[in-house]
């Protein structure tokens, strides 16, 4: 008896693959958009590490008011959108300069005990030093605590990064920014008032 022949292989029609492709693209775009939007409400890893170090060392519980992150892409879209708008030269210089910015605001609920600022100061230093940042300014005065960090390496006018923490006894603000300072410097040094002050300085 002859064995029955194998049924012919069925290949899915090409248009089904095209259909899946057409459906997948908007889905992927949605996912990318969702991730992009979500990232606007999430601080970068360095800022997050600083925040976590400060909160943990303070010994008290904090509430988050806001956390916003605008990266190069978001600001690029804003720059493109405002390119035709009438802006002050100062505002335009700032917009051209800033390449990324993020801010986090945290507050102490009423009745919370005063946090240990010296411990916060030390913890901030430890965290940021481990991540390659140098503290440029540190001020502890009354209820206020201010620290300013900049990267230890790869600092230039084209690529400037800065991370600032300000605590006033009840509210803590973390701001981190990346900028290309060239447009700002060009604007600043062309101002008559600043030029006069600079001339005065060179006379000393």
């Amino acid at each position: 008896m002859n064995p029955s022949p194998l049924p012919p292989a069925i290949r899915p029609p090409a248009r089904r693959l095209w259909l899946w492709g057409i459906l997948a693209v908007p889905l992927l775009l949605l996912v990318v958009l969702a991730v992009g939007v979500a990232s606007c409400f999430r601080l970068s890893s360095d800022a997050r590490a600083l925040r976590n170090g400060l909160i943990k060392s303070s010994g008290v519980e904090w509430r988050q008011q806001i956390a916003l992150n605008a990266g190069n892409l978001t600001l690029g879209i804003v720059r493109a959108g405002l390119s035709c708008a009438r802006l002050d030269p100062e505002a335009r210089a700032v917009l051209q300069a800033v390449r990324g910015a993020e801010v986090g605001v945290y507050w102490l609920p009423s009745g919370a005990k005063s946090p240990d600022r010296a411990a916060m100061f030390a913890a901030a230093d430890t965290t940021m030093t481990a991540r390659g940042w140098d503290r440029v300014v540190g001020v502890m005065d009354g209820r206020n605590l201010v620290t300013v960090y900049m990267p230890g390496k790869n600092v230039s006018t084209h690529r400037m990064k800065c991370c600032v923490m300000v605590f006033n006894g009840s509210e803590m603000v973390l701001v981190s920014a990346q900028a290309n300072l060239e447009p700002l410097l060009e604007y600043a040094l062309n101002q008559p008032a600043l030029r006069a002050k600079a001339h005065l300085l060179t006379q000393r």
Binding site: R135, T157, A198, L201
Partner: protein
């Protein structure tokens, strides 16, 4: 086994080389004031501007203010500590400042200026030269028992009379104040 020993030796030699390099990197005019913790309830300010930022500042003003750019390029580090004095830390800070001055003397720093002001403020200015010619660094210690202790270390070729200008350019208030105090205390020509 032999390979392990050779490998360990190689690692040790490289590590030693890196350490030596690190030591060599510390310029002669730099002074370590030690770890100064802020006192509870007292003011504390620390400013540390390193050569990367100073170069950046010099670069940004090169065209418009070449003299200022030259001053900034001659400096490699500006380190300022302002420690508010309270009953808790006054004695310790006085001892610390005295120890720093003693260490500077022992390390061959030259005491150029000593100013005792009427309000009890005590200012000391120390300089270190490199090969007997250019300045390698500058240290200023200020002790005001009623208010604060100020420690300043500037690494680079800078004269005491240029401190006010440097403070002005970098907008560092303690530097401006000390510079002004030194100017007032300098003998009038």
């Amino acid at each position: 086994m032999k390979q392990m020993i050779h490998y360990s030796l190689a690692v040790a030699v490289i590590a030693a080389g890196i350490n030596l390099n690190a030591l060599a990197d510390s310029p002669p005019g730099q002074v370590d004031f030690g770890k100064i913790a802020p006192a509870r309830g007292g003011e504390f300010v620390e400013i540390q501007v390193k050569s990367n930022l100073l170069s950046l500042a010099a670069q940004s003003v090169e065209k418009q203010q070449p003299d200022v750019a030259k001053l900034l390029r001659s400096v490699q580090l500006v380190h300022v500590n302002v420690i508010g004095l309270t009953d808790e830390n006054r004695a310790e800070m006085e001892k610390r400042v005295r120890q720093i001055r003693h260490d500077l003397d022992a390390q061959g720093w030259e005491q150029n200026v000593t100013v005792q002001q009427k309000d009890g403020q005590d200012i000391g200015v120390y300089t270190k030269t490199r090969n007997g010619e250019a300045l390698a660094g500058l240290v200023i210690t200020v002790f005001d028992p009623k208010k604060e202790a100020v420690l300043i270390n500037i690494v680079g070729d800078i004269r005491p009379e240029q401190i006010a200008a440097l403070g002005e350019k970098l907008d560092i208030k303690p530097l401006k104040e000390v510079g002004a105090a030194l100017k007032d205390a300098a003998p009038k020509k």
